[in-house]
């Protein structure tokens, strides 16, 4: 029973860690499937986390905070679009610039506005998303195994965790079953085909990047108003890059990307638990190794040692009409 409990606790932690990864990776999916490289997920998340916490602290409402987080992230995404789509700038440089600007701006503004060493005030009450007890959680507690799983694993998460779970099928539906999705997939493969079909390549990419900003905004807000209780500087700590790795590991498809996020989150949960534990046969695994594991796995995938990833064909290239 104890192992079972440990596994359930691990999975519970996995879900919590995976939530921002899933949302950010799905965000990256819209951008990259539309042919725009987005290494700026990190910066957008960080910006959203700051805005959400700051506004939630002032307004006292987590929902208003979430709105501010989303708007901030969309604004940053539009900056990316303005640089890369309108001005055909280098997409990697633009993403990089956004990450650096936000990394500097959030503590600068935080310091100026709240005078708490770059943090925002600690959130409590309605300013923070609280865990939700799902219906029948109490009454089903006595059902063997299922009841325990329902109460400990499925129930008792905040709304954004459920939102992330729902986002996967919704995004998959948008990508594969709607006109917008068809066009996004087309513009990432061959923007010329989209242009000659009478669709504006630029506007389409802008729309995809709005989606990216929207999802990334939720991911960032989760960090500061649901998972945490306030903004701490550099609180994304590489999660944006990890989400990007998960997106690549999931070969730019929604469901495999979800599993990649869960895998990466699981290694994180395991690492927290394995700290200093002497495993039989293996001995103590250095924490740092487990921390580096997602990145090592992604490199191995990119190297073609674990399957083969086919990125969208037109990714990274600004669209220029040719004569």
């Amino acid at each position: 029973m104890e192992t079972f409990q440990i596994i359930v606790l691990l999975l519970d932690a996995t879900f919590r860690v995976a939530t921002p990864l899933v949302l950010a990776a799905l965000a990256g999916m819209f951008s990259e499937r539309a042919g725009v490289v987005d290494i700026g997920l990190e910066g957008k998340m960080l910006g959203a986390a700051f805005a959400a916490a700051a506004v939630a602290a002032v307004s006292g409402s987590a929902w208003v905070g979430l709105g501010a987080g989303i708007l901030t992230s969309i604004a940053l995404s539009m900056l990316h679009a303005y640089a890369c789509v309108t001005h055909k700038g280098n997409q990697v440089v633009s993403g990089m610039a956004i990450n650096i600007v936000v990394a500097g701006l959030t503590p600068t503004l935080g310091y100026a506005w709240f005078s708490m060493g770059g943090q925002t005030p600690s959130l409590s009450g309605d300013a923070r998303f609280k865990s939700i007890i799902l219906p029948f959680a109490e009454s089903s507690r006595d059902i063997p195994i299922f009841g325990y799983l329902y109460v400990e694993l499925i129930s008792n998460h905040n709304i954004i965790v459920y939102l992330a779970a729902a986002a996967v099928p919704i995004c998959a539906w948008i990508l594969y079953k709607t006109r917008f999705g068809l066009r996004v997939r087309a513009v990432g493969e061959n923007p010329h085909a989209v242009d000659t079909a009478g669709i504006s390549v630029d506007w389409l990419r802008y729309k995809a990047l709005i989606m990216t900003g929207f999802l990334c905004g939720i991911a960032g807000s989760y960090l500061s108003t649901a998972h945490g209780a306030g903004f701490i500087r550099d609180m994304t700590a590489g999660k944006g890059y990890l989400a990007l790795a998960a997106l690549i590991f999931g070969k730019w498809r929604p469901v495999p990307t979800l599993f990649a996020c869960l895998l990466f989150a699981f290694t994180d949960a395991v690492q927290a638990r394995l700290q200093g534990v002497d495993l039989p046969l293996i001995g103590v695994i250095p924490v740092q190794f487990i921390q580096a594991l997602p990145y090592i796995l992604t490199v191995l995938l990119l190297a073609g040692f674990v399957g083969k990833a086919h990125p969208p064909k037109a990714i990274g290239e600004p669209y220029i009409k040719e004569r």
């Binding site: 490289v37 290494i39 900056l79 303005y82 640089a83 890369c84 001005h87 055909k88 700038g89 280098n90 990697v92 440089v93 633009s94 990089m96 610039a97 956004i98 990450n99 650096i100 600007v101 936000v102 990394a103 500097g104 701006l105 503590p107 600068t108 503004l109 310091y111 100026a112 506005w113 770059g118 500087r233 590489g238 890059y241 990007l244 790795a245 690549i248 250095p286 740092q288 190794f289 921390q291 580096a292 990145y295 090592i296 992604t298 490199v299 990119l302 190297a303 073609g304 990125p311 220029i320």
Partner: protein, 373 residues
């Protein structure tokens, strides 16, 4: 990077000073203007801030020493990113390569400290270069032979390097007499000479590696434009098919350029570990690797431009600390904002002002026939 589409007979050649001086300057001014707005928002006076910044960077001899000490790091990483650019590669991994270079220097200074300084110097440099190059070799090999995108792999390698560094300092190299994750100090006989020990100036961290940086800049120029190896790297960077046609191996040159890049980034370790901190510490790379991208972009991948851009960034770093000290609502992260904005304007938005500036130039420049050039 500098992928030039065949334009329809650009009528009037835009002179170098527009390209290499005016446009970077306009981009810089735009970045500074936005930074000024940020300073206004947080309730300070941007003009005052600029004054403090400039005074803090160049106003007194000690400040100049600090500025040049930071400049040294930016030259190393700027050159590192630039050589990769010349080969058509985007090396985001200078941060990780610098960390590895530091490990190399640290190991030499910690465990070969019986050697006299004149022997330690080449060994430490060699170790920095080899460790940095080796760390760059893996992504380069994967790009060249297996087509793995180097932007992504170098990002991943930064994280792996950070984990490796933490592991080494927490578990292996940690000072047995200390608590924090850092090595024992290296003995004084292995320290790189400070410039103030040679020239009469106040005590600053500026050390011999600044001279290395200048020598390497000259070497960079010679290598890229005046040797057949540089020629090959540039051919590969501009047109890989043409390289294969000419019998120039793209994969060999990709690996070569990335290893040079990694080695250059590794020298940050020399400046920081052997020159200043005198022990192996965490996070001594402090974002220099990422800033190298901005330096290379602003410096147009040319050593002179890189020196000027590095000086600008060095001044920002040094002036920024002064700023955080002098002005109440500004802290040192403001420098990161300015740095990010410079990358944004001179990199991502480089095409925003260029057509307008060129158009203005064309309107006011005397008309000349095309052939006259």
């Amino acid at each position: 990077m500098a992928e030039e589409k065949v334009k329809f007979g650009a009528p009037l050649k835009i002179p170098g000073w527009v390209n290499y001086a005016l446009i970077p300057l306009v981009n810089l001014i735009a970045a500074l203007l936005i930074s000024g707005v940020v300073i206004l928002i947080i309730g300070d006076n941007p003009i005052e801030a600029l004054k403090v910044l400039i005074y803090g960077a160049f106003g007194y001899p000690e400040a100049v020493g600090y500025t040049l000490y930071y400049t040294t790091n930016f030259i190393f990483t700027g050159l590192a990113v630039a050589i990769a650019f010349h080969c058509g590669l985007f090396n985001i991994g200078a941060e990780g390569q610098a960390a590895l270079g530091g490990i190399g220097v640290g190991l030499v200074c910690l465990y070969m400290d019986w050697m006299p300084l004149w022997m330690i110097i080449p060994f430490a440099m060699g170790a920095a270069a080899i460790f940095g190059a080796a760390w760059a070799y893996i992504p380069a090999y994967l790009q060249a032979k297996r087509g793995s995108h180097i932007v992504i792999t170098t990002i991943m390698f930064n994280f792996i390097a950070a984990s490796l560094m933490t592991y080494l300092l927490v578990e292996v190299l940690i000072d047995p007499n200390g608590q924090s994750p850092e090595s024992r100090p290296i003995i004084e006989t292995t320290w790189l000479p400070y410039i103030h020990e040679v020239v009469s100036m106040p005590k600053t961290p500026l050390n011999l590696s600044f001279v290395y940086a200048l020598i390497l800049s000259a070497g960079f120029y010679f290598l890229v434009w005046h040797t057949r190896w540089g020629y090959e790297i540039r051919v590969v960077g501009q047109n890989e098919t043409a390289a294969r046609y000419a019998g120039i191996s793209p994969s060999k040159n990709i690996i070569l350029a990335m290893m040079i890049s990694g080695a250059l980034a590794g020298f940050v370790g020399v400046n920081e570990i052997q020159g200043v901190h005198h022990r192996l510490i965490l996070d001594f790379t402090g974002g220099y690797g990422f800033a190298g991208i901005a330096v290379a972009l602003m410096g147009r991948n040319h050593p002179i431009g890189i020196f000027l851009a590095a000086l600008l960034f060095g001044a920002l770093y040094q002036g920024g600390s002064e700023l955080a000290f002098e002005m109440k609502s500004i802290n040192k992260e403001m420098v990161i904002v300015i740095q990010g904005l410079i990358i944004l304007f001179s990199g991502a938005l480089e095409h925003m002002f260029r057509p307008k500036i060129e158009a203005i130039y064309r309107r006011f420049a005397p008309a000349r026939p095309v052939e006259a050039r």
